[in-house]
């Protein structure tokens, strides 16, 4: 039960940092003025067009596709698989399990491998492409290592060292309903969860901010209509503020 308490406390702590940190960051982005119209053109001339442009960026990574097919391939596989894996994990958080989460399960099975493969491809690029190696900091490597670690320990529990899923689910539901339960003392599971907590904690302080950031990028989210509609942000009138 001691182990369960430690993990419960860490869990609340990490989720709090993640949620509050992210909320502050998003508030900062939303509140910082965009004084001038700077969409990268050709850009949509209507708000609906901007929604379509943004959707293509977020769902297909359209600009990245234009730029580099290998990075796009690895990056897109990783993100798509990550999404499936996250959806699949919902079954540990819901009781009864939402019906559509069941549909995701078969795909989720392979997503773990796809995610690892995508991450591995991105990491190989970081070493082998001289230009990408030049721009990489230790944190860029460690981020990939962390995600690979999460994926690998996850796969290990599925295919090598099974864990007691039922008591794990009881533990998680206990966290959600403040009715704390013991955690299975399974080393692979404990490492897997610890890595996820680390990911949650560093999220608001790292380049993972690209996820909310993309929606706030003036180059992509502005409507190209400066002649038709005057763009004016009062704060910027005064020099210095």
């Amino acid at each position: 039960m001691v182990l369960g308490t430690v993990y419960a406390v860490l869990f609340y702590f990490a989720v709090a940092i993640f949620a509050v940190g992210l909320a502050f960051r998003i508030r900062l982005y939303a509140r910082t003025p965009a004084p001038l119209k700077i969409p990268t053109t050709p850009a949509p001339v209507t708000q609906a067009g901007v929604v379509v442009r943004m959707a293509k960026e977020v769902v297909f990574f359209e600009s990245l596709f234009k730029a580099n097919k290998w990075t796009w391939l690895f990056g897109w596989i990783f993100h798509a698989a990550l999404l499936l894996v996250l959806l699949r994990h919902l079954r540990y958080f819901t009781e009864p399990v939402w019906f559509w989460v069941g549909w995701v399960q078969p795909f989720g099975m392979y997503a773990g491998f796809a995610m690892t493969a995508g991450l591995a491809g991105l990491w190989v690029r970081r070493f082998t492409v001289e230009r990408v190696r030049y721009i990489s900091s230790p944190s860029d490597h460690l981020m990939l290592l962390l995600l690979i670690g999460i994926a690998a320990t996850g796969l290990m529990m599925k295919y090598v060292a099974h864990t007691d899923i039922l008591s794990l689910k009881a533990f998680i539901l206990g966290l959600l309903y403040f009715d704390w339960q013991p955690i299975p003392a399974d080393p692979v599971l404990l490492v897997h969860l610890a890595l996820v907590l680390i990911l949650l904690i560093i999220f608001p302080f790292s380049k993972l901010l690209h996820a909310p950031g993309v929606f706030f990028s003036p180059g992509r989210n502005q409507v190209d209509n400066p002649r038709e509609k005057r763009h004016f942000v009062p704060q910027t009138k005064l020099p210095g503020k």
Binding site: A34, V45, A67, P138, V214, G219, R220
Partner: protein, 504 residues
């Protein structure tokens, strides 16, 4: 300046291997104290420059969502690394867009982020030292703010915004660039980049009227400060005297003449260019834009039309309404402002111009999309009009036209190498090397289709190409204005001479 070799053109274009420090020696002449002080910047590097620079960075972050999001959002995916013409032409890794941003980002991280404050080595954060400042001065003046990198970045991170912010910071600690700041001072004082006063302007335009009459037998007016004219033409001052710019100006005059509209230039706002964009200064940019508004009000015009100038069109199209608007005293039935290409193309579409294409038969054309028009503005009603409209004009005036390779035109266009405040002789080496990708694409259509001339709609592109094309084995007059082609083809009412084409 050191001697340097013009890059060899390889087909296809090769991505260079990294050549560290290759362009470390290239930085522009610093602004003299009087150039700085005229703009309200400190004359020389201030004593507490480090704190002042960090404060200024903080202020800019709070004033620009773009800067804040772009500093945080980069995942170092590397998609932009091979997209900059200066990297492609030099191999210097600090000319890779993300590496250029990182020069500022590492300081941002050090002073403004949790990770950079406590774990600088982990995230590549660095103190703002004299070496870092020197790198800023060097490499933020090797960016033409062309936005090519932003097209390919999955988050649209725009290195131009980062360069502008860095230059704004440097200006505020007394480390400005001579070329831009001297020119901005001239505009504030006299009204144009060249420092051309009213009498000289009137003289020049009268000379052009005589030239046109001699050539065509028709009196075509180029009025200055004519109150009550319908249209104010704002054009880059290079159009008044430089080649091939001036042939474009003659083209605008002939089009206005045929359209039967009254127009004028203003000596007070005799400049379309707004170099304040290059130094990232909202306040300076606003001051220059307000000159145009004042000229329009004083002259009582109904419309404003801009001549062929790339960054000027970006400022006019995207920023002028914000900076100096609303323009409710102008005729709302026309776009405010309008591009001369939009004006001419409308007339062509309505069939109101007689164009004799054969007068351009001595040329085979291609078109260079200028960055600021291509990626920073629009023409016409739908996205991409900035690509189709100039091409429609060229095709209406010429029989022989071929586009360059698809990944080097439209929004993928390569910069001429001289934009963003780099069009100065002290930066000739980076300008020449940065032109290599464009020269390569041109060479391909020259070899394949026998292209003889490249047309452009930007004063900087035209000046840059006439300077660097000879280094790549082309002639300096292989670059032409789009309205020069119009000027050649247009048949004026009552024209006496049968052929007014310029023979090479």
């Amino acid at each position: 300046m050191a001697d340097f070799d013009t890059p060899e053109i390889t087909i296809p274009l090769e991505i260079p291997t990294l050549n560290r420090g290759a362009m470390n020696h290239s930085s522009p002449f610093p602004a003299a104290p009087n150039h700085q002080e005229a703009l309200g910047f400190p004359g020389e590097l201030v004593d507490n420059w480090q704190t002042k620079a960090i404060d200024k960075l903080g202020e800019l972050l709070s004033r620009s969502r773009a800067l804040q999001v772009y500093m945080d959002g980069c995942v170092k995916c590397g998609a932009c690394t091979d997209k900059c013409h200066y990297f492609l032409g030099t191999g210097d890794p600090k000319n890779m867009p993300v590496a250029r941003q990182d020069l500022l980002r590492k300081v941002y991280r050090r002073y403004f982020t949790f990770a950079g404050k406590y774990f600088p080595w982990l995230v590549g954060a660095e103190d703002l030292t004299k070496e870092v400042l020197d790198d800023w001065y060097t490499y933020f003046h090797q960016c033409s703010q062309c936005r090519r990198c932003s097209v390919y970045c999955p988050y649209g991170i725009d290195t131009a915004e980062v360069s502008m912010a860095a230059r704004e910071i440097m200006d505020h600690i007394g480390k400005g660039q001579k070329y831009c700041n001297e020119i901005i001072g001239k505009v504030h004082k006299i009204g144009n980049n060249l420092g051309l006063p009213e009498p000289a302007l009137i003289d020049t335009l009268e000379g052009l009227e005589e030239d046109i009459q001699e050539e065509t037998g028709v009196v075509v007016r180029l009025p200055v400060n004519q109150k009550g004219a319908d249209i104010l033409l704002v054009t880059p001052s290079a159009d008044f005297f430089a080649e091939p710019h001036v042939d474009g100006l003659i083209g605008y005059a002939k089009v206005f003449h045929q359209a039967g509209v009254s127009w004028t230039v203003s000596s007070y706002a005799s400049e379309a260019a707004n170099f304040a964009m290059f130094i990232g200064s909202y306040e300076q940019m606003q001051k220059i834009a307000e000159r145009i508004r004042k000229a329009a009000e004083d002259l009582g015009v109904k419309r404003i039309i801009f001549g062929e100038c790339g960054h000027a069109w970006r400022v006019a199209y995207n920023f002028m309404n914000t900076l100096a608007g609303p323009f409710d005293f102008l005729d709302q039935n026309y776009p405010i402002p309008q591009h001369i290409c939009e004006f001419t193309n409308d007339l062509i579409e309505k069939g109101e111009l007689t164009l004799d294409k054969s007068r351009n038969d001595h040329m085979t054309l291609t078109f260079h999309d200028s960055c600021n028009v291509a990626r920073g503005s629009r023409m016409g009603d739908s996205p991409g009009g900035q690509f189709t409209i100039p091409r429609a004009i060229i095709k209406a005036c010429c029989n022989n036209f071929y586009d360059m390779a698809a990944d080097t035109i439209n929004e993928n266009t390569f910069c001429c190498g001289g934009g963003g405040g780099l069009l100065t002789d002290d930066l000739l080496e980076i300008r020449t090397k940065g032109a290599a990708p464009r020269m390569q694409a041109l060479k391909e259509v020259v070899d394949e289709h026998g292209v003889t001339h490249m047309a452009a709609i930007c004063a900087i592109c035209k000046s840059q190409f006439s300077k660097v094309m000879p280094k790549y084995g082309f002639d300096m007059d292989n670059i032409v204005s789009v309205h020069q082609l119009v000027s050649n083809a247009i048949v004026l009412d009552g024209q006496t001479t049968g052929d007014n084409a310029k023979v090479e």
